[in-house]
Symmetry: C2
Subunit: 469 residues, 2 copies
Amino acid sequence: MLERLFEPRRVAVIGASGRPGQVGTEVVRSLLAGGRPISVVHPREKTVLGVGVTENIEDLPGDVDLAVVALSAGTAEEACVRAARRGVPFIVPVAGGFSETGETGRALERSLVNAVRAAGGRVLGPNTVGLWVPGRGGVDTLFVQHERELISHRGCVAFVSQSGSVGVEALGAAAVTGYGLRAFVSLGNKADLDESDFVAHFGDDPGCRGIALYLESFRDGRRFLDVAGAVSRKKPVVILKAGATRAGAGAVASHTGALSGSPLVAEGAFRQARILSVDGDEALLDGAKALALCPAPAGPRAAFLTPAGGYGVLAADAIESSEGELCLARLSEDCRRRLREASFPYAAVNNPVDLTASATSAMMVEALRILVADPGVDLVLCAAFLAPPGMSPDLVPGIAEVARSAKKPVLVLAMFGHETQALCKRFTDVGVAAFPSLARAVCAARLLVRRGKCFSGPADIKYGAPECG
Amino acid sequence: MLERLFEPRRVAVIGASGRPGQVGTEVVRSLLAGGRPISVVHPREKTVLGVGVTENIEDLPGDVDLAVVALSAGTAEEACVRAARRGVPFIVPVAGGFSETGETGRALERSLVNAVRAAGGRVLGPNTVGLWVPGRGGVDTLFVQHERELISHRGCVAFVSQSGSVGVEALGAAAVTGYGLRAFVSLGNKADLDESDFVAHFGDDPGCRGIALYLESFRDGRRFLDVAGAVSRKKPVVILKAGATRAGAGAVASHTGALSGSPLVAEGAFRQARILSVDGDEALLDGAKALALCPAPAGPRAAFLTPAGGYGVLAADAIESSEGELCLARLSEDCRRRLREASFPYAAVNNPVDLTASATSAMMVEALRILVADPGVDLVLCAAFLAPPGMSPDLVPGIAEVARSAKKPVLVLAMFGHETQALCKRFTDVGVAAFPSLARAVCAARLLVRRGKCFSGPADIKYGAPECG
């Protein structure tokens, strides 16, 4: 149903003046970078950023599938309705000043949506920063700064955010360590199209392998659980439900005017529907990245491979403190013998596996291969540090080759001083889930295990012992 | 007692061949960058990296205060003892192969230390990457890659790490967002000088405003608690005690051959001694940075200031989920009136304070000033995003001016896509504690409140209600 929103034949921008910084102008700038055919509507300008201008909405070409309306709340409705009457199926009024400001704005919003729907159109927003499909030819209507250069190819995570700023800031933070983004949608006030519509869309999108949601409220909680619960059988759905505390719910009310709902009810309902709930913006995007790039593990037994013993200790602590979600795998005798053969007499081949600072890239890759092959290991966390003298950039393709052919998750903790983010990005760009800190890598691993548990028994089953194997 | 270790008149490197990658050569390279006078001892080479070589240890000049011995475990003892007999007060054998490898190595280590001490010297190590005092003329013996360019000035956090790799990797990760480092010490096997010696030293160092410790074991737990407990009355002592879980303790045993000790006993003893315990490498260095740059807050009442409502919601959730360590401050009527006057009619002036994406840098700074002045606010978290169109780089000096003159902590959450780290560093470089994610900023704020509580009543007092004001 939303195909033409994400793959519009042509996009019209209504109300772009060409003045730098003006919202409509910035929409045109982003669209030009994306490369979709565009039209601009303005009553007086002749060209905007080199694009010839159409004076009347009624004169737009017939292949416009998406119209971005960059007019203030008071004047947007007329333009939206005229575009819908012209046959444009999707209308995006970007302005604020609607339901988030109170009763008057709410009435304005209701009137706009009703009129557009009566004319056969659908509305994304209002009060939205728009949508973005990365890569060549992708539609990009975001008028705020976003990391178009870092996220230059289409990936497989769909990110749907009620808040434009959380969406864009969180994406920016994620992009620096590499992020495969299928699409980003800012829901805004979701007066018409809402979270359920987009979850359903991405559920059916074969190019999408995971859905990340930032939500402050639900337009229709029952429908959301039905839709997301059904989608979560096919692909992971991760949610950051902001306003989960009493104070947060109060902040939601002043931010969007919406009711946040009861956190306890939500948490239980999420678990029933196999929707994975996280508690921070970083955890949301890290988790979705890991879920999109890794298979779900069969269990919680984690191996940790490192050239730095100290990080082995910290990883063991973090794994054992994971509320039972992870445990240190007990390696088989055969596995330990092979690890020893592949490294040094003084390497620690119990789990965590510490090859010491004398390890080479080749040893790390071989040890990873051995760990992945141990049937007692459900997932592997691998510390990729380039500082030890035996390490070389070969480590990246070496680990990637093992990780991509493994039937279990391989997560990488990549650290290399000021080149840490670039190193993470190199891994992510070749399809390996890499993170710049132990805490973030372990957090992502825990989410993978939760996903795996969704399909191994009742949704709320708990593993018993904190150590197992 | 350790002054001459950190301010040596001259440093000798024993066993540097000049071959790139060889440990001794890399020590010389680091020392040359630091700028201290150095001497090199080698039986055959004539110059090493341009430094004239002395053939015999006995011919070293009389002002050598520190000798780095880059020889293998089997041959280090003789050189160490000869240097001590020559009158060098501090000897740093860098090689591994001592007590961390088992009984033979332990005997070797004991023999080395006993002989050096008998000759009047003290030993840092063995099995250490050395020490580093950043800035012009600072001593730098680290032979592994470290962020000398990013940490180019002397700051006020002393970082003492049992593990060289955790120390260097964690410092590298911290450096990218700015880090004021007084000194870094890798304890290695701490066969002679140990954690207590360095805590005592930095306790007396007026240039040090906070001490961060990564420890896997204690050489003398009783003495450590006495020393660190006394120092913690003057300045904050933060500890990451690795091996706190059963699995972690096992990893400590294979990493260093040491006993990790009981985590429960340690945790209780830390609290008694007002030593602040954290659970990750990032939390350790972030926490020490915040403690060194901010005054301790009088209580847990936090205000959050943001131009992005979504982050206000997330912050409210994070503050209310902080196990009572933080709570959302209730702003006074006067404060809210002034915030409204300084911003917009539609800004949210309850806490969290959301000035909306229309906020300007000047409004943010003025609102920060107003929040700091509210007697019901104990600390302020300020979201510094440069993406909104009204924001300009002026935000950094503006916030810094308010933060530095405030008698309460101001912590900054700085985000700006791929320029996030650079933005954090700009804040940190002017003395403002800035962090690149909400989770990290809140974690640092919680540690500040714990520090404040150390001096407001019995060490283990708990605040009652999660919301207060």
